[in-house]
Symmetry: C2
């Protein structure tokens, strides 16, 4: 059985004023950082505000004063973070968060969140949290313990979708799918008409996308395998632009279970009939963000067979 766990890990860092532009560090610097996470740069797009690198099932966005790297699978993102901290120590940072979702094949990961905290501890003084019950979906966050005031429009939404169903999910699992076919189903040109996209279609299936427009980004990673399907979408779009995108993805992909994680973003979605909120945790962080975690689920009303191993 083909198995790929979309076990996302994410780092976001903002530099202190007066630091050199992170973009000026150039692609070789970032390629070397990405390599520390066991990933590689596949392609990139650039605009006046941002360099967006599409990695192997992962993404990296670099702005003048901040960067965001998001990796999946058994990547070792924490090694990229500690490498970055060799060049820019804690006192150069205004803000840093390191985030990890729950994993269901934790034994296949090269480290646990707790191990990652131990790797970060010599470099950064921080606080760590878990949002959501340990035996259900949950999300871990570590942040640098330093007061920070995000800008008014600094908000993030992350939608993690499991068990996608329906005709479009079947299309994503099918051979012969095309980028045009995926784009059309996801509605990028209608929903995000101003965005510049960078996409990659894996063989036999799997899709990664970065999109940028000014200092706004979207990123999506699809691992459609029937037994372990997982799609993540994340963006710093303002709520009025983001919510229609998230609602469209829920309508198209029909996930039977999904997590909505947000930072400073009220994000009321249009849930399908029968979908229930089964866990909800919120935390005001000392770094100026209100983090929310919600796990939604469509109860499985049919008796299923066992999965043969």
């Amino acid at each position: 059985m083909m198995f790929f766990e979309g076990s996302e890990k994410k780092v976001e860092a903002v530099m202190q004023p007066g630091q050199p532009s992170l973009r000026s560090l150039g692609r070789p610097f970032w390629a070397q950082l990405v390599a520390k996470a066991n990933a590689e740069i596949l392609s990139s797009v650039h605009n006046e505000a941002c360099d967006a690198y599409l990695l192997s099932e992962s993404s990296l966005f670099v702005w003048e004063d901040r960067f965001l790297m998001l990796t999946c699978g058994t990547t070792t993102l924490v090694h990229a973070v500690t490498e970055f901290l060799k060049h820019f120590s804690e006192d150069k940072l205004a803000m840093l968060t390191y985030q990890r979702k729950n994993e269901y094949q934790a034994q296949l990961q090269k480290s646990s969140f707790s191990d990652d905290l131990a790797s970060l501890a010599p470099h950064l003084k921080g606080k760590a949290w878990r949002l959501g019950h340990l035996d259900g979906h949950h999300n871990y966050l570590f942040h640098l313990d330093r007061p920070y005031q995000p800008q008014a429009d600094d908000a993030t939404g992350e939608l993690l979708m499991y068990h996608i169903t329906g005709a479009d999910a079947e299309y994503l699992r099918s051979e012969g799918q095309t980028l045009a076919g995926i784009q059309q189903r996801m509605g990028w040109s209608q929903l995000l008409p101003q965005f510049q996209f960078d996409e990659f279609l894996f063989q036999p299936f799997g899709y990664s996308m970065n999109g940028i427009c000014g200092d706004r980004y979207v990123t999506m990673h699809i691992t459609p395998q029937e037994d372990s399907s997982y799609v993540s979408f994340e963006s710093n779009l303002e709520a009025e632009a983001l919510i229609p995108v998230l609602n469209h993805l829920l309508r198209v992909l029909k996930p039977q279970s999904y997590d909505l994680i947000s930072f400073n973003l009220p994000c009321p979605l249009a849930h399908a009939e029968g979908v229930q909120l089964i866990d909800h945790a919120e935390q005001t962080l000392d770094i100026g963000y209100r983090m929310a975690f919600q796990h939604f689920l469509l109860p499985n009303t049919q008796v299923r067979s066992a999965d043969p191993l």
Copy 2:
């Protein structure tokens, strides 16, 4: 934070007719087997049909022609199984099942279910299944691939309870709790008046119990820690005796999430208001058992804070 995961693993084996009595192997044989799983015998009770050993957060029941061993925490039950198979090879067995629940700290376990299958493969030809979604609660089962016909009264029910709440849960977490206090709350003398019990109270808390009556057994293990509370109860009682016990435990312990796993046992329970069945898988096994897995959950309607790590 004190953390103990009740990551249960279970083996049950039935011998071919004509094999020597397993009880006649004596306590040293079983003590050595238990040691292979990194557990130890704390105490025991015996009746005309069964020897019941209470282990460190684990249990072992030995009948003339079958045995059942159930271990928790980071025990290595599969090593006890392979040790047993050195003495009694596949052709001496009429039936063998090896079962493991999902783990939420899989990286702390010494092996995964997949690793365990690899350990068993040289000794046994079998089939393996997962009941329940990978990203939710689920249960793994391996069984010897040999036709078997269980007796008409051979049925098992397992109730795995998470996030116990209410006054009785608080009692189980409190200092100064007593065996008499637990017995009274669990209602053993009313519900199982004919049973002979063997119990152990851990410090500062935690409770293990075996009970036997003829060839029937009950076993319960409580790890009440607030952040990761978990209680398991299992028995081969017939449905009309078992269901009142399970309903009483649900009423007393008020778990917010629980799994009911059964073999050849229709087991309709009295669920509290608001409790939902969120996943349900059933499988007819070639060894004569119908296995059912149901995950029940009381959706968390209040916004909780994050858990600090």
